[in-house]
């Protein structure tokens, strides 16, 4: 009897664990998709600007010549778009105007100030904690491939003279309770800097430690406003994605154009920090835009069942539009459930916006199918999957490297990792140009840099200016999914109104 009870209980527990993990083993997913966070990131390559540490206002030109192909391709890409806001030069990385006094970091409070200023020579290791197993890995694992791919490209082309780049990316399963352990072990292993840690709670979980140790925590792959709103307290931490509040405001503005002032909106958000940030920002922006929120529904982060009741409640109010902020697999289930609600209310056909964390082919096309057709979202990167972009030099470089490496993950998500690595290398290059490559010079370079990634859409650039501007990217392009062509279509021009 006892044996039977143990068996039953053990199997129940194990069964649940396996169910939880099963999502990651969808072989369709493993070789087709993933993009989730993807669309946002953004990286480097063309224009390196302004100052280099210290108080010089001069700019460095010719530096780019040595970057070889990467620079050339990016420049060509920029020319091809003919809309770049930054003046570009085919052969220079350019140095543009610099703030009168470049931001510097104080290392006196570091646990080991000498280590923070010690020169890094020979080999530089970049660490990160990312979901490499479990359900979230389905969407995020190609980021690692893209990151490593660009580092190989940088090493092959000697983009950082005298420095060999290495990466050490470990699995935290997107579980913030595991991230401190992963980061601790990476620090013990001698990682010099961190770049591209995925997830808001995951980055928050290690922010204090990395700031106390004075180890740069660059380009967090999350759009939480935390990465740029308190530079004085957390000087060693920066973000890579457009802050969620800016994204929400851009959606509200676009919606006003689509449904007119006084239009009604239903709000569907995940009940988490991520959803709350969006909801608060969107409500404020909607009020400014003269839109009326007629219903608000939430879904729990761990909920996997279709949101039938929530969509039913929104459908009862028949708003002109829905702003949806679901999480991961909730993106397609929301879209499918919405189709059912529309079928039951044939006179109701709302405009639908989804956060760009849903903007992947896996979530919109493969999992939601026709239900995803017409949904609006946003990006700031060129879509490398779109045949129209095949001739773009930045895309070509990525695709060539991707093909040569025999990768199979979603190309668009791989592009995110590629871009983050490209940004990181641009920061390192600027730090190297300052005279000494150290943790101190790296974070100072990161916060005093203007740079256009090779896959950036026109008008998109990495731009940080000390405490005055703590956000790297603030421009987004609204786009709409077209299921028949299996492509995103740009709506209007990129919104740069939040750039400072």
């Amino acid at each position: 009897m006892i044996r039977k009870r143990y068996h039953l209980a053990a199997f129940a527990a194990v069964g649940t664990l396996v169910l939880v993990s099963c999502g990651s083993d969808d072989d369709k997913a493993s070789d087709t998709t993933k993009a989730a966070a993807a669309t946002t990131a953004a990286p480097t390559a063309t224009t390196t600007a302004e100052t280099s540490g210290g108080s010089t206002d001069t700019t460095t030109a010719e530096t780019t010549e040595s970057t070889g192909e990467a620079t050339e391709t990016t420049t060509e890409a920029t020319e091809a778009t003919e809309e770049t806001t930054e003046p570009t030069d085919a052969e220079t990385t350019v140095a543009t105007e610099a703030p009168s006094e470049a931001w510097t970091v104080d290392t006196s409070e570091c646990s080991d100030p000498d280590a923070a200023e010690a020169p890094i020579e020979g080999e530089l290791t970049i660490g990160a904690a990312q979901p490499l197993s479990g359900t979230p890995a389905v969407a995020f694992s190609p980021v690692k491939d893209g990151f490593e791919l660009y580092l190989k490209y940088a090493n092959d082309n000697n983009l950082l003279e005298g420095i060999t780049l290495k990466s050490d990316i470990k699995d935290d399963q997107y579980d913030a309770t595991q991230t401190p352990g992963v980061v601790d072990s990476l620090i013990d292993d001698g990682v010099n800097i961190f770049s591209g840690i995925i997830g808001t709670p995951n980055n928050l979980a290690v922010r204090d430690t990395l700031n106390e140790e004075c180890i740069p925590q660059l380009l967090n792959l999350t759009g939480a406003p935390d990465w740029g709103n308190d530079v004085a307290s957390y000087p060693w931490t920066t973000g890579a994605l457009v802050p969620y509040d800016i994204e929400a405001r851009i959606y509200a503005t676009t919606l006003k154009g689509l449904i007119g002032e006084g239009g009604t909106v239903g709000l569907f958000t995940v009940n988490s920090e991520f959803g709350k940030t969006y909801a608060d920002a969107f409500k404020a922006a909607a009020a400014d835009a003269g839109l009326e929120i007629v219903d608000e529904q939430t879904i729990e982060p761990a909920e996997e069942a279709p949101p039938t009741n929530q969509i039913g409640a929104i459908a009862a109010d028949k708003p002109d539009a829905i702003m949806a902020v679901p999480l991961g697999a909730q993106c397609p289930t929301f879209l499918k459930e919405l189709v059912n609600a529309k079928a039951a209310n044939t006179d109701w056909n709302p405009v639908v916006f989804q956060t760009n964390t849903c903007a992947s082919r896996l979530l919109i096309s493969l999992l939601a199918g026709d239900a995803g057709n017409g949904v609006y979202t946003s990006t700031n990167l060129i879509d490398p999957v779109d045949p129209a972009n095949a001739a773009n030099p930045g895309v070509k470089t990525l695709v060539d490297a991707y093909t040569a490496a025999g990768l199979k993950g979603d190309l668009a998500t791989t592009a995110v990792g590629w871009t983050v690595a490209e940004d990181t290398v641009a920061i390192l290059k600027k730090a190297q140009e300052s005279g000494t490559l150290s943790r101190k010079s790296i974070i100072e370079a990161a916060r005093n840099l203007t740079f256009t990634p090779s896959l950036a859409l026109p008008g998109v650039e990495y731009k940080m200016n000390g405490e005055e501007d703590g956000y790297s990217f603030q421009t987004l392009q609204v786009e709409q999914w077209d299921q028949p062509s299996n492509l995103f279509k740009n709506i209007g021009t990129p919104d740069s109104s939040s750039e400072s």
Binding site: S24, P131, L132, S141, D208
Partner: protein, 385 residues
């Protein structure tokens, strides 16, 4: 074929010698690691201890008292949030927050023990499952309305001055890791001792009696209501201690820190090590944690796995398969399996009966867990004393 086994008399000098050596070996390893290990290794052990503490608490409830709970993550969450909030918002001493957290968990455990008086097995599991599902919502509301932020800061437990460990400077990260490591070990040992002493006492015999046959236990005078609710309370408080360590370890917490998955991990640790054994939950927690850690580190690089598993995100899947396989091979967990193997070589013979046991003691049910190996003909072999 009959086997010849050596018997060691319980509480004999030899038995005490073996026990003492075992404890000394564990203490030596603990001290050695604190002196030599890197912060990340100490952090991993601390995390494994956290899991072990919760599993020890769950073992008291399920292993010895037969009440299943899938809601222990809620108790851990309650204590962690209590600590995080009182330390950061009210500037309480973290150790005071520990005491308050344990009391709250005990009271919540008592309350949850009430439905357990009428529910058993899967029905009780469902009630506790609901509690586990409700916790993230409560936590999110709390963060929204009380903390006014998306996350709650941890307690940042710093080394006490008398330890000589530094709070700032070059060695601060290592010293903080060492302090947290010892804090987790102390709490784990205290939890173990509480459960062990309960188990070995009259109360423990009542717990097991209730587990095995409630009616018989009631007939023999065991207060079912008191026994079941208080056990739930103590078990919840121990899980709360685990949550307090988590609050000390993490920089931030939110509604996703303690989910149903945490409860499932506690259960897995318990079954892997061996429910209803005293050291089983600890062994299981360490085995689970470090196997999981190993798979996460190495599985993504394994290209020898077939088809889509090759170099894929399969660590969790492999862990599940391993646990299923292990349950088939060793249904009583690692400790049960090892005991069965050791029993083939020698046995611990019980102490001789006391001269004049009381009537009540005679009526108490056996405290020994029934084991197939104890009942088969193999165990009838010659015993050398």
């Amino acid at each position: 074929m009959p086997t010849t086994r050596r018997a060691i008399r319980e509480s004999s000098p030899l038995h005490w010698g073996i026990r003492t050596m075992g404890v000394a070996a564990i203490a030596f390893i603990a001290i050695y690691l604190a002196s030599t290990a890197k912060p990340s290794t100490l952090g991993n052990i601390t995390e494994a201890c956290t899991l072990a503490i919760a599993a020890v608490g769950l073992n008291l409830l399920f292993g010895f008292n037969g009440q299943i709970s899938i809601g222990h993550s809620t108790f851990a969450g309650l204590a962690a949030f209590t600590a995080g909030y009182t330390v950061n918002a009210w500037e309480w001493n973290p150790y005071v927050s520990l005491v308050v957290g344990l009391i709250l968990c005990f009271l919540l455990g008592l309350a949850l023990g009430l439905p357990a008086l009428r529910l058993k097995g899967p029905y009780l599991a469902l009630v506790t499952l609901a509690v586990a599902f409700v916790w993230p919502t409560i936590a999110a509301k709390f963060l929204d309305q009380k903390v006014k932020a998306s996350t709650l800061k941890g307690t940042k437990l710093e080394p006490l001055s008398w330890t000589g460990l530094s709070v700032k400077g070059k060695d601060a990260r290592l010293d903080k890791a060492i302090f947290l490591y010892w804090a987790a070990i102390v709490i784990l040992v205290v939890s173990y001792v509480i459960v062990r002493n309960l188990r070995k006492s009259r109360i423990g015999r009542a717990l097991v009696a209730v587990r095995d046959n409630e009616t018989a236990a009631a007939v023999m005078g065991v207060n079912l209501k008191l026994t079941k609710t208080v056990t739930f309370g103590i078990s919840a408080a121990i899980a709360g201690a685990s949550g307090w360590i988590t609050a000390a370890r993490l920089a931030t917490m939110d509604e996703t820190t303690f989910t149903i998955l945490s409860s499932i991990k506690y259960l897995l640790a318990l079954f892997l090590g061996g429910a209803a054994t005293l050291v089983g939950p600890i062994v299981g927690a360490f085995a689970y944690f470090f196997v999981d850690d190993y798979l996460k580190e190495h599985a993504p690089e394994w290209d020898w796995l077939p088809g889509p598993l090759s170099k894929g995100p399969v660590a969790s899947f492999l862990l599940g398969v391993l646990v299923i396989a292990f349950v088939f091979v060793a249904p009583f967990g690692i400790v049960g399996f090892v005991k069965d193997q050791v029993r083939k070589v020698f046995v611990i013979a019980p102490r001789p009966l006391r001269p004049a046991p009381s009537t009540a003691e005679q009526a108490m049910p056996t405290t020994e867990e029934p084991r197939p190996a104890d009942q088969g003909p193999e165990t009838q072999g010659r015993v050398d004393t």
